[in-house]
Symmetry: C2
Subunit: 408 residues, 2 copies
């Protein structure tokens, strides 16, 4: 008998018929003798409905009251799903975040889970009940209702799986797993049977938005086997495991697991600034202070005692970043400021890079062979990222996918 | 500075515009220097929306899950109203039933309040905040969400007023007070400035459905000054007070406060049964066992050693009651069973009856003068009820209203 924590998102429970379908799906696991804890989100559309009422009521709704408002969404789902399971003859019981309780800090709208008391859940599982838990929500030490922020239900599921030492945490989504790259760009993209937490984090942060990053971090920290699979199709999905487990397994280990890319990139350059200590901080500091996240940074030494500085930000931040950069440029006596919001980032991700050399040069060769100019390069232990012109994105991803045999 | 508990029902908070209006209304009280605790219901329509989803999901939704489902309704209202107050520049904070907490027993869908902890409310009032509390809901000792049953928000408001020793509990409704009788039947009906709890209970249970009976009982028990008034019109409404306070006041005391009536009545007769001890129980017992509420009962001795038995039930119960009665009739060898579902009940209500004699005979004279036949009579200390044919209801109420000078 395995203990499984399953999470169903808003689309999977979007109306009463879909909730009944999910109940049927869960019933099969019960009939197979599994112990099931279900974590659910608000029915799709519900969060928008509530948010739009709030925005009519107040210009700046307080975050405490927003959390109280939005958490009704999952509370509706847990009660309806419990009823649906009961109607099928299965004992089921619902719990809100505060009922468990799922203790969080008091940062409304993006609270962090501090502790989960698993006593109630364990006791109900022992009584052979399905336990249905509201995702996304918790309770602060002051007794206020909190929410975990966008995609927080994934984190709830993983945290509960960790607290229960569950055999597996299954995240049901509208895709049937993690792919080697976006199938809309590369039709030959293949579903991965396994991926390590670290690889997934690189894939997720690069725009493959299947799981909330925090839930993967959580799974990695507590070594929760985390499976991504489709709520409507059959299949084993993709299992996220630790590098250790991956190495100890008999699975064939590809060097490259996947190709991630992001279109939400813009580049800023400040040219001809004095090449002296502290210059990087003087440029990057004001940008960070304005809460603009900087991704890649490159500094090139010039031949005349000056230096050039290039970095990337989200496209939505480019105008604000440019304004700040031009002010810095004036102060530092820079020669020129340039921006480019038609760039994209493409990344090869794979733990195999750690033990295999030559991946980068292989990558550059593929790009060169296809007349793709590399504007910036950045690397981590398990990732090589390049910045290229957005018009060449599809070609780059397709050629790399083929060259690294991800379609095999 | 007075401490006032105000309750607004579902119609008053039926959409975001109405919620903003209520916030404006509350803001005026705050500006006048009052301390305000607001109790609200779910937005009108919301409970039906949730109930209909549940009824599609399950044939018999569990009452625990129904309570979890339905209480989201008030949770939405408290957060939106708090936001609306904050948007007007007033500090406001919302609390669900479990946050207060409002401790109840564990009878789902009709829980009773056992204790209200007023600490949080008091502390927030001291910080000059408006406290917005979800009506209708509480929490059981086991940590389950409970509801107080239909109209439970009134009870929440009165119970909180009692716990806080508030100066007044104001129930805002769609009528501007308690009338001497239904103005749709008697256009000259007058709004009462005052009424005692006991009179209100008699009026309410007889079909003048303004306040939930339990809330009046609660107000009576804890001597909470309870005011019924309109959420849309100005005016002082009707204040419910104790008989003691009424006597000690300088207000003119009418003998009769009002005329209540109920159309939801049906009569059953069992004729020619043996006149022996225990016969009443043998007839009434099986009816009560079937959860049918019996209102008036009359037993007439016959001249041949037999007796006749007449009683009234709700119209919706008549077929079930008749079936049971016919079974009893067979067993007891009764001569006949008759039913009549075209009757109504009219009641004079007034604490003045205690000290004034002759009210009943006056009443009977008025009815006789108008050719209205009395089928049954029942009395309490402050009420005389008669059963008549439904066709004569309007005439009876109009003539009695005039005869007892309720229009003066």
């Amino acid at each position: 008998m395995a203990l499984i924590v399953q999470k169903y998102g808003g689309t999977s429970v979007g109306n009463v018929e879909k909730i009944k379908n999910i109940a049927n799906k869960i019933a099969k696991f019960i009939d197979d003798g599994q112990q099931i804890v279900v974590v659910v989100s608000a029915m799709s559309g519900e969060t928008n409905r509530l948010t739009s009422m709030a925005s009519i009521i107040a210009k700046q709704p307080s975050s405490r009251e927003m959390d109280t408002l939005l958490t009704t969404g999952e509370q509706v789902t847990i009660s309806l799903l419990s009823m649906a399971l009961q109607d099928l003859g299965h004992e089921a019981i619902s719990y809100t975040g505060w009922q468990i309780p799922i203790a969080t800090n008091n940062i409304h709208s993006k609270a962090r889970i501090e502790e989960i008391n698993s006593k109630k859940i364990t006791s109900q599982l022992e009584q052979e009940k399905v336990v249905v838990v509201a995702g996304f929500q918790g309770i602060s030490a002051e007794g206020n209702i909190t929410t975990l922020g966008r995609g927080g239900s994934d984190t709830t599921a993983v945290a509960i799986a960790a607290a229960l030492s569950a055999d597996e945490c299954q995240i049901y989504t509208d895709v049937d797993g993690v792919y080697t790259t976006d199938p809309r760009v590369v039709p030959e993209a293949k579903r991965l049977d396994f991926i390590t937490y670290d690889e997934m984090l690189e894939m997720a942060s690069l725009g493959t938005k299947i799981l909330q990053i925090r839930s993967v971090e959580f799974a990695s920290k507590y070594q929760v086997p985390l499976r991504v699979l489709s709520s409507t199709q059959d299949g084993d999905g993709t299992l996220l495991i630790s590098e250790q487990d991956f190495k100890e397994s008999t699975m064939e280990k590809p060097i490259i697991s996947g190709i991630a890319f992001s279109r939400d990139e813009a580049k800023l350059m400040i040219l001809g600034i004095p090449d002296e200590p502290g210059i990087a901080f003087q440029i990057i500091g004001p940008i960070s202070d304005a809460n603009i996240e900087i991704d890649m940074i490159i500094q090139n030494q010039g031949h005349d005692g000056t230096t050039d500085f290039t970095f990337t930000v989200s496209r939505s931040d480019i105008h604000k970043a440019e304004e700040i950069l031009r002010a810095s440029a004036k102060k530092l006596g820079a020669r020129k400021v340039q921006t480019d919001d038609s760039i994209v980032k493409v990344s090869l991700v794979g733990i195999g890079m750690k033990s295999h050399s030559g991946i980068a040069s292989n990558m550059f060769k593929v790009l060169a062979d296809n007349q793709i100019n590399i504007q910036m390069i950045g690397t981590t232990e398990i990732k090589i990222s390049i910045v290229i012109n957005e018009e060449q994105l599809d070609t780059a991803v397709q050629k790399l996918h083929k060259a690294f045999e991800l379609d095999k």
